[in-house]
């Protein structure tokens, strides 16, 4: 039913549950799994400002490796994508899903958001609203 499944990962505590659930869905519905890490850079206000994405890229690579291993232990061989760009993480996820023809995005309601009473984080909210494909929202 969902041939290509995209799973945004962010290294938060909730990532493990999301990756495992995505694997289960992929196995049940016969889909392939792709893990994506987004480095969303702030748009510089002034041309002279620059932002070195290297530490975030490294964090991202490590996160993708961890997530890939989680998926493998759960019986899924997952591809990985790292997307580094200026903009909003939610929009970037939606755009990658559109450009690469994903049919489902599996995303956690809240990843790094520390605000406890936030029911749904901003990235998840943006993805749910902007994605042109189906979205499975996973809860803690």
């Amino acid at each position: 039913m969902f041939e290509k499944i995209l799973v945004p990962v962010d290294g938060s505590e909730t990532m493990e549950r999301t990756v495992k659930l995505a694997c289960d869905v992929a196995k049940m519905l016969g889909g392939t799994l792709t893990l994506i890490h987004i480095v969303a850079l702030p748009i510089p206000v002034d041309a002279s400002m620059s932002f070195d994405p290297t530490p975030l890229e490294q964090y991202g690579k490590k996160t993708l490796e961890t997530a890939q291993k989680l998926a493998k232990d759960r019986g899924c061989n997952a591809d990985t994508i790292q997307e580094v760009n200026y903009g909003n993480a939610g929009h970037m996820i939606a755009r990658v899903a559109w450009d690469k023809g994903f049919s489902l995005i599996v995303i956690h309601a809240r990843g790094h958001s520390k605000i406890e009473n936030l029911l749904i984080g901003s990235v998840c909210h943006t993805v749910a609203h902007r994605a042109s494909c189906s979205v499975l929202i996973v809860r803690p």
């Binding site: 039913m1 049940m28 519905l29 749904i120 749910a128 979205v135 499975l136 809860r139």
Partner: protein, 135 residues
């Protein structure tokens, strides 16, 4: 983690049978059972007699979804409630321990530029179980 009991809110919008078909396909592939739930939105000042009448009037929608699912070998039930759609969907899912809510992205909303309707948006926000938003 499996999805055994799936709640599928439906309404009288034009795409409801398409949504029901997708939910049926999901159930066929996962072995889940479906509950098609129609929440009839009514203002608070309604007599008990009117409520029963509205339930009977709107029953055909969830019944039709159930029949089509059953014809494809999927175990499904049909249910009508009266009240606020979001609150009813969320509380039923929680109280009756559904594993998943499958929602269409747009039901009552008619704006072409609106990608996700207000009921789906709020259910997604408040549900305590996973929500599959189908587009």
């Amino acid at each position: 983690m499996t999805f055994q009991r799936v709640l599928v809110p439906v309404d009288d919008s034009p795409h409801v049978l398409e949504l029901a078909q997708q939910a049926t396909e999901f159930a066929r592939e996962t072995g889940a059972t479906l509950t098609f739930l129609h929440v009839v939105n009514t203002p608070k000042i309604t007599s008990a007699k009117d409520i029963e009448q509205q339930k009977r009037e709107y029953r055909w929608i969830s019944d039709e979804c159930r029949e089509k699912a059953a014809a494809q070998g999927v175990s499904a039930s049909s249910r009508v409630e009266v009240g606020s759609p979001v609150e009813t969907i969320v509380s039923i899912a929680e109280r009756e321990k559904f594993d998943l809510i499958i929602m269409g992205s747009k039901g009552q909303s008619h704006l072409r530029t609106l990608l996700v309707g207000s009921v789906a948006d709020q259910v997604m926000e408040h549900a305590s179980c996973p929500v599959l938003l189908l587009k």
